[in-house]
Amino acid sequence: MESYIYRTDKLILDLTEWLTEATGSAFAAEVVKMSIAAAVLSAFVGLLAMILIYIERKVAGHMQQRVGPMRVGPHGILQTVADSIKLVAKEGLTPKNADAFIFNLAPLLVFASSFACLSFIPFSPGMTIVSFNVGLLFILGIASVGVLGILAGGWASNNKWSVLGAMRSGAQIISYELSATLALLAIVPFFGTLDFQEIVLSQQKGWWIWRAPGVGLLGFLIYTIASTAECNRTPFDIAEGESELTGGFHTEYSAMKFAMFFLAEFINIFIVSAISATVFFGGWMPFHIEGLDTLNRVFDLLPPIVWFFGKVACLVFVVMWFRWTFPRLRVDQLMHFEWKYLMPLSLINLALAAIAVSAGLYFFN
């Protein structure tokens, strides 16, 4: 039983086998498996958002010499639970002159695209909801659907500030998606696959952030910046820009519809951190140093899933750290930065990566 924590691929296989036996057909087993996965994922999403929001508040608090939420539950642990109950119980308003259909559809679009992305994330060996040979490409594609929801929401609110926020958001996400994709693609030649599990497996000898000479680090930096922008987080939160646009695209949203945007934002943070952890930091792969077997065995004691979430947590912290330190860029500066600096840099990075791969210039070959 214990070994299942370490060998989750075995767990999945055994589970499939058992289900096939129990239901009598491979197809039915697949259906049951998918239902379980969906249920687990839904619970996971809710839990994840609550935990992330709580952490965000605590991080913010301590960075500002405050303590953050303290009242509900010990150290305010239940604060986000209380807030969720409040959000669910609130009346969901639709502005009078809004396009009600699209207004209500928009948060769903945003949320669904984030949710769908989660199914490609490799949490642990074998533990991916959908295993695709083009998982990385797919996740990048689906992530860009979310912006449609933001645009639709901003437009349907029939509020000038919302439209401004939506336009900003659209322009921003389309632009920064390029850099984010290019930064990831620069690493793809090294492992030559787009399947997440295989990407993780290719890092047995070392994580790509240092195995790929320079390119990995540069790619990681570019990806961190671009993905922060894609999540609409400070310093790139011009779409919300509460001091300018009073909330941007979600100005008119309340209750559960607002919560969906909010949830999606936090899931997005998790997703980009998870991608970053998978591509650059070896995903669930424990930290290994060649030759130091004792140390490696100590590291192996931690189950892969702990490694994965540990890495993701560190990266999420960095994103939060950005938010509570930096001011916001202006919209034209944002575009300048992307098109004049980040994008050329990521193209150069891609070229360097191609050279490095064809010359076989990477460590632990």
């Binding site: 500002q64 001091s243 646009l245 001011p327 916001r328 860029l329 202006r330 919209v331 500066q333």
Partner: protein, 376 residues
């Protein structure tokens, strides 16, 4: 249509797009309503609408005795309450010929400079928040809290102090006052460097403020801007230096002046002003007589003799001038307040033209508007 901003020649073919910024908007810092004419993100024109918190304080002054008007002056620009009190006290003292004890004059200087610092601390935090960084806001408040504690110990109140009064100050300072203030100055000086680390050194802040919203000195003078807003353009005008009052001639300090006139210059000037204020406070603490009266004997209801009296002080936002007309009774005939915020706001439409919405927020923030000061 008077409420539509003047047409500019920027993009004549663009369809007019008006948005209301305020009266409820996070960065108008009060109930200010700006009608913004936009072309995309670019601001073509701004028309400020004020008067949402107009209380008719000038008119109220005509029905209140000199003593009774003090609490109301605190409520003009609540962030420089001491300075406003001082202006009224000075006008009354001029009118009634009251001599202020030396110790009281020093206390007034210390209190004024402390409230200048506290005002700029708040401004610094809000400036950071307007630009999207939330943390400076709390750091600014953290340090401002110390000033407020000092105020509370001596004046009993934290914001609208009503401490400076005709003939001096209402009562002598708290027994820990000198120690507290010295502690504060020692504490706060490194904190300004911390402000530098968090915001001033940040490239995003610099990119967003340098060259943004240049208010050239000529325009600024024409609109009657004062304070840091004016001095950022290179005009060396400070009431404390140019028309000294109180014991300011005894103080050795520099007027903080920059030359560029942009948002960054206004930012730098305010930070420098905090340093200069600390310097003034230290000098005043060194020079203050240890004992002595703090309040001249004044009648309870001061008769304001016939005549016109003008007093001006350098409030945190600029020159606060007060014009008093007396007719020999205890109630003033007429009081006119010249608040710095009003004039500074009037230069805003000129400054923001052609900049973006985000810059409008930056410029408004560096103008440091306080609505009760503007609406009176």
């Amino acid at each position: 249509m008077s409420n539509i901003p003047a047409d500019t020649s920027i993009e004549p073919d663009f369809e007019d797009y008006y948005v209301n910024m305020g009266p409820q908007h996070p960065s108008t810092h009060g109930v200010l309503r700006l009608i913004v004419k936009l072309a995309g993100e670019t601001v073509l024109g701004v028309t400020p609408h004020i008067g949402f918190v107009h209380r008719g304080i000038e008119k109220m002054a005509e029905a209140l005795t000199a003593q009774q008007f003090f609490p109301l002056t605190s409520r003009l620009d609540y962030l420089s309450a001491h300075m406003n009190n001082w202006a009224w006290a000075m006008a009354i003292e001029k009118a009634a010929g009251i001599e202020v004890p030396e110790r009281a004059e020093y206390i007034r200087i210390i209190m004024s400079e402390l409230s200048r610092i506290s005002s700029h601390q708040l401004w610094w935090g809000v400036f950071g928040m307007d630009l999207g960084a939330f943390t400076p806001f709390l750091y600014g408040f953290r340090d401002r809290e110390r000033v407020n504690d000092i105020f509370e110990k001596t004046c009993g109140v934290r914001l609208t102090m009503n401490y400076i009064c005709a003939g001096g100050v209402r009562e002598d300072v708290d027994r820990d006052f000198e120690k507290d203030v010295r502690e504060f100055t020692d504490y706060f000086e490194p904190m300004i460097d911390e402000y530098d680390r968090l915001l001033s050194g940040n490239i995003i802040i610099q990119e967003r403020t340098k060259g943004v919203g240049v208010l050239d000195p000529e325009t600024a003078k024409q609109y009657g801007c004062t304070g840091p807003t004016l001095r950022a353009g290179g005009v060396d005008y400070d009431v404390r230096k140019n028309r000294p009052y109180g014991l300011y001639p005894r103080m050795d300090f520099k007027t903080a002046v920059a030359t560029e006139g942009d948002s960054w210059a206004r930012y730098v000037v305010r930070l420098e002003e905090m340093r200069q204020s600390l310097k003034i406070i230290r000098q005043a603490l060194d020079q203050i007589p240890a004992e002595g009266p703090v309040r001249a004997k004044t009648p309870m209801n001061i008769k304001i003799p016939d005549g016109h009296y003008l007093s001006r002080v350098e409030a945190a936002r600029g020159e606060f001038a007060l014009y008093l007309v007396g007719n020999g009774k205890i109630l003033p005939q007429r009081v006119k307040l010249r608040s710095p915020g009003f004039s500074n706001l009037s230069a805003l439409p000129e400054t923001v033209k052609g900049w973006r919405i985000a810059d409008l927020v930056t410029i408004m923030s560096t103008f440091d508007l306080v609505m009760p000061d503007i609406d009176r």
